[in-house]
């Protein structure tokens, strides 16, 4: 496709131009960076990545499937979704969406997810300075990976360098018209250099070769108990993981009014696998941690040929007890 440039001082106009669509970009909410609708007059925040991944834009944490009345059989469906543009999504998070697409269009199409996904244009921002715990390069990605993106931006200081990647991206750029400038040959060189340097800056790495095949062999290993011992069973690693997609469906009834909702669930929660009988096939954090790792590095690979981890480092950064996926993988490799 083709490349363009956007001057940073024109960000306001950019926001205005996309005014009719819903533009999401990283915003500070209190102390925390999240993706949120941009309002006119806001600036581009300095950020490495958001604490909360943008997955909730296409896969909301709570989604009403339909509403009903107790004692009644009629139901009403929620209204359709609007077009959205996500500005500043990091390549890892975009890759995650591409990964999850496989799941939601696998045996049956999931209309709720796919509709939102189709109506969302992802404008990514390459990482010039990856974080300590970024390890995207170990799992098939990179600081300038384009997978899942419609447009990739690279920060050149004064300007953003735009690489238009898909039709959706092109449509978006066209709608911006005059705002964009033609990119120069030098710019592209500078961008490529930046991308290369960024990749060099990734300090934590692991060779995942062999892990997916052999993980199942460690099913009964002592390793899992050791790793999971300090685990608190909270939802940080899964809720903040851009590729985790598990959900639960619950009815929420107020008086006589009810709605059936789909909401994120976490395999690290005890009741995730709790049977009505009281039996729990994954009764402790040991089994749950094993499942989380196996799911990402074995089951998903088996089903879709890809590791369901994009190396964003969120679970490492935010785990309250320092359970570190790279440390786990290292131990797994040692045990193999």
């Amino acid at each position: 496709m083709y490349s363009m440039k956007l001057r940073k001082e024109k960000y306001d106009d950019f926001v205005a131009a996309l005014g009719k669509q819903n533009l999401y970009a990283p915003q500070k909410k209190g102390e925390t960076l999240v993706f949120a609708p941009v309002e006119a007059g806001s600036s581009i925040p300095e950020f490495l990545n958001t604490t909360v991944p943008p997955k909730n834009i296409v896969y909301p944490q709570t989604e009403t499937l339909y509403c009903f009345q107790a004692g009644d059989t009629e139901m009403s469906l929620p209204e359709g979704d609007e077009e959205k543009v996500v500005f500043g999504i990091r390549p890892c998070d975009a890759r995650a969406m591409a990964l999850v697409d496989d799941l939601f269009s696998w045996d049956d199409d999931d209309p709720y997810y796919l509709e939102k996904r189709a109506k969302t244009t992802l404008v990514g921002l390459a990482c010039n300075a990856p974080d300590n715990n970024c390890f995207c390069t170990s799992v098939g990605g990179g600081p300038a990976s384009t997978e899942g993106l419609d447009v990739l931006l690279t920060d050149l200081g004064e300007t953003f360098f735009l690489q238009v990647l898909t039709e959706k991206g092109e449509k978006l750029c066209q709608s911006l018209g005059e705002l964009l400038e033609k990119a120069a040959e030098d710019d592209l060189k500078a961008v490529e250099k930046l991308h290369e340097e960024a990749e060099q800056k990734i300090s934590r790495k692991i060779d995942t070769e062999g892990i997916p095949d052999k993980l199942m062999g460690l099913w009964d290993s002592e390793l899992w108990a050791e790793i999971s011992e300090p685990c608190l069973g909270c939802g940080i690693c899964t809720y903040l993981c851009p590729t985790c997609y598990c959900f639960d469906i619950q009815d929420e009834v107020e008086g006589y009014d009810g709605r059936r909702c789909r909401m994120w669930d976490s395999c690290m929660f005890g009741e995730y696998t709790l049977h009505a009988s009281g039996h729990n096939p994954r009764p402790t954090n040991r089994e749950r941690t094993r499942n989380r790792v196996n799911h990402k590095y074995s089951y998903y690979v088996e089903k879709f040929g890809k590791i369901a981890c994009v190396g964003c480092g969120r679970c490492i950064n935010l785990c309250p007890v320092n359970i570190d996926i790279l440390n786990i993988l290292t131990k797994v490799k040692e045990a193999l």
Partner: protein
């Protein structure tokens, strides 16, 4: 059984009481569209037989399994409708009421607003009704015995009634003899029977009745358990006299080094007794007791060369080694007949009770009048040491001392003072024919049988009634001066008299708190024990199986006391003779699978109904809470204190209340 909710909603017009303000038709129509509602009807009087029949027929014919009655307060007719459900075989706890009358039609005038509110109330009731569960009223066995605390006339009467019906009675009396205050009285109003003559035979009956176990000089230490199954611990205080050997001859008292040197409580301190004593000659049991606070041997460790009473006692009954004894037994019910204290007139210093020996309380005069009293029935007042006693000629009674008087904390009327004053005034004119007797009063309350007639008679006998509350009693020369105002003539008076008698009122006993804690009783505003209902349950208390008799519940005269004692006895007998007692159904229960045994509920329960028990949960020994269903009263305080929601109150579960909140909050 298919338990899909099928709700019937019945909206009552209550004549026009509801329908005047609430559009009953609209509410019925609205209710018929509520989820799970099969039938919605309205009727002029749901509580009437035809009204109830409507419900019963629908239950039978349409298979309804939840009933909502939208009518008056459930406090009024919940039981009525529960019975109706039960009569056609539906569990009575499948009923929920919406209060459209007291809480809606009677308190609102705007028909539109009231109708909307009525709809909400009905919808909330239906939302809860859907989630109601059938409850069983369990039964527990009743221990066929009664504990009676207090051996006054109330306790005596109750004991005799219950014992005569064939049930065991344990009577516990704090003092060495039964008889109580009545035994101190000379005559009783208005008939002027001799108090001792009518009381002593009953006292003897109590002691000799084969079904009554009498424990005098004893105190209840502990009562645990619950209706039908109370466990009682009684401390029998050491008398230092073996009651099986004591013949009541009294030689010991004659020999006592403190013979006639200790003020006699029975004679209000005007007579004297020994350190070894019986309270009064007719005491039952007629067994001597050594006063451990007075006896020289017990207080100082020596009594001359040795206690003389030991030598005097031929049967060898005296035993200084004796110790308190704890007796334990089980009873099904308890009657509290602990009586009252007399108002202490030193709390009204203006009447000079502490200053002048010729200011007496009515009870003191009672003892003076009594033939068995310290003066052998003569009205003789001492002037002080060495001076000749004299007979008072000018006598003033002051009524309402410590009654109807907010300044001393007693707003209530003591109910007996008017009549005992009249009686004593009469006795004065009888004993001292030339005496001038006047009574200062606020109002004369002569409401009982023969009371007004007696009051008239006393006035005819020359007792002068002056309406006015004296402000002061002071001394002028040999005389006492009563300063008052005759409010009927608006005349200030300074009345010189020889004797002032204070008609002191009745007060709750000072040790009432101990009994309250023992039996979990409450006090009413007057600090007497609180009955379960002032009109319809005047002998019952909030604690099932515990009943009140006599002045412990409030001031009353002897006939009322006896009547209430018989009432308490009959209530206790209902329990004992049926042998079973139903326990509350709407009580708490624990989900032991989620309880974490923190014990908050145990701490909170006012009845001690929750215990922690150890159970085996999948091989682990864990502590969980468990409710004693017979003890739980269904207040639900434990439920709100439980963090995990593991303890729930039947019919008031969280999942039953939350839908009510949803409907009343949002009405969606």
């Amino acid at each position: 059984m298919n338990n899909k909710p099928k709700i019937g909603v019945y909206v009552c017009h209550c004549g026009i009481n509801i329908s005047k303000t609430v559009d009953v038709e609209a509410v019925t129509e609205f209710a018929s569209h509520l989820p799970y509602v099969e039938v919605a009807r309205n009727y002029s009087y749901m509580c009437s037989d035809p009204g109830q029949l409507l419900i019963k027929e629908d239950i039978k014919n349409q298979g309804l399994n939840r009933i909502v009655v939208a009518s008056c307060s459930p406090r009024m007719h919940e039981l009525t409708f529960r019975k109706a459900l039960a009569e056609v075989g539906l569990n009575p706890y499948y009923l929920e009421m919406a209060n459209l009358r007291e809480h809606c039609s009677w308190v609102h005038q705007d028909r539109e607003e009231a109708t909307i509110k009525a709809k909400k109330l009905v919808a909330a009731a239906a939302a809860k009704a859907r989630l109601l569960e059938p409850l069983v009223e369990n039964e527990v066995d009743v221990e066929p015995a009664t504990l009676i605390i207090g051996g006054g006339i109330a306790g005596i009467q109750a004991a005799l009634d219950i014992a005569s019906a064939g049930f065991k009675v344990y009577m516990v009396e704090k003092t060495p003899s039964v008889g109580g205050k009545m035994s101190q009285l000379d005559k009783t109003f208005p008939t002027l029977d001799c108090s001792a003559c009518i009381l002593t035979p009953k006292m003897v009956d109590v002691a000799s009745h084969p079904n009554i176990e009498l424990m005098t000089y004893s105190q209840v230490e502990e009562v645990s358990g619950y209706v039908g199954n109370f466990e009682v611990k009684v401390r029998k205080k050491a008398r230092y006299v073996d009651v099986n050997k004591c013949t009541g001859c009294g030689l010991c008292a004659e020999e006592c080094r403190l013979h006639n040197r200790i003020p006699s409580e029975f004679d209000m301190g005007m007579g004297k007794r020994s350190a070894i004593y019986i309270p009064f000659p007719q005491a039952v049991p007629a067994k001597y007791t050594i006063d451990p606070e007075r006896c020289l041997f017990l207080t100082r460790g020596k009594c001359g060369k040795g206690p003389k009473c030991i030598d005097a006692c031929l049967p060898g009954a005296i035993n200084f080694e004796q110790e308190d004894e704890i007796v334990e037994f089980k009873v099904g019910s308890v009657i509290v007949a602990t009586g009252y204290d007399l108002f202490d007139p030193s709390r009204k210093p203006e009447y000079g009770y502490n200053d002048y020996p010729n200011v007496l309380t009515a009870m003191e005069l009672e003892r003076l009048v009594s033939a068995s009293g310290p003066t052998g029935g003569e009205i003789l007042l001492g002037r002080g040491k060495g001076e000749e006693p004299y007979i008072p000629k000018e006598i003033a009674f002051i009524q309402c001392v410590g009654s109807r008087d907010a300044s001393c904390g007693n707003e209530y009327c003591s109910r007996v003072c008017c009549m005992y004053t009249a009686k004593l005034a009469h006795l004065m004119t009888e004993k001292i024919p030339d005496a001038n007797v006047r009574v200062y009063y606020m109002d004369v309350r002569a409401f009982g049988k023969g009371f007004e007639e007696f009051y008239d008679r006393v006035r005819r006998e020359g007792v002068h009634y002056i309406r006015g509350n004296p402000s002061e009693v002071f001394k002028r020369g040999d005389k006492l001066v009563v300063k008052a105002e005759d409010t009927l003539t608006a005349t200030p008076l300074e009345d010189e008299v020889d004797m002032v008698v204070l008609a002191v009122g009745l007060e709750p006993r000072k040790d009432a708190r101990e009994i309250m804690d023992l039996l979990r009783l409450s006090q009413s505003g007057d600090r007497f024990f609180l009955e379960a209902h002032p009109k319809l349950a005047p002998v019952d208390t909030a604690t099932d199986g515990v009943y009140l008799a006599g002045c412990a519940q409030g001031p009353k005269d002897i006939p009322d006391t006896v009547a209430q004692a018989k009432g308490a006895a009959s209530s206790a007998l209902i329990l004992l003779s049926s042998g079973k007692v139903k326990v509350q159904a709407q009580i708490s229960s624990v989900d032991e699978s989620t309880c974490r045994g923190c014990g908050f509920c145990v701490e909170i329960c006012p009845y001690g109904a929750v215990d922690l028990v150890t159970v085996n949960r999948m091989g682990h020994q864990v502590q969980v809470a468990r409710v004693n269903e017979a003890v739980c009263k269904g207040c639900g305080a434990c439920v709100a204190g439980c963090l995990s929601g593991s303890i729930q109150q039947r019919s008031f579960k969280d999942e039953q209340i939350l839908p009510q909140i949803a409907v009343l909050g949002g009405m969606r």
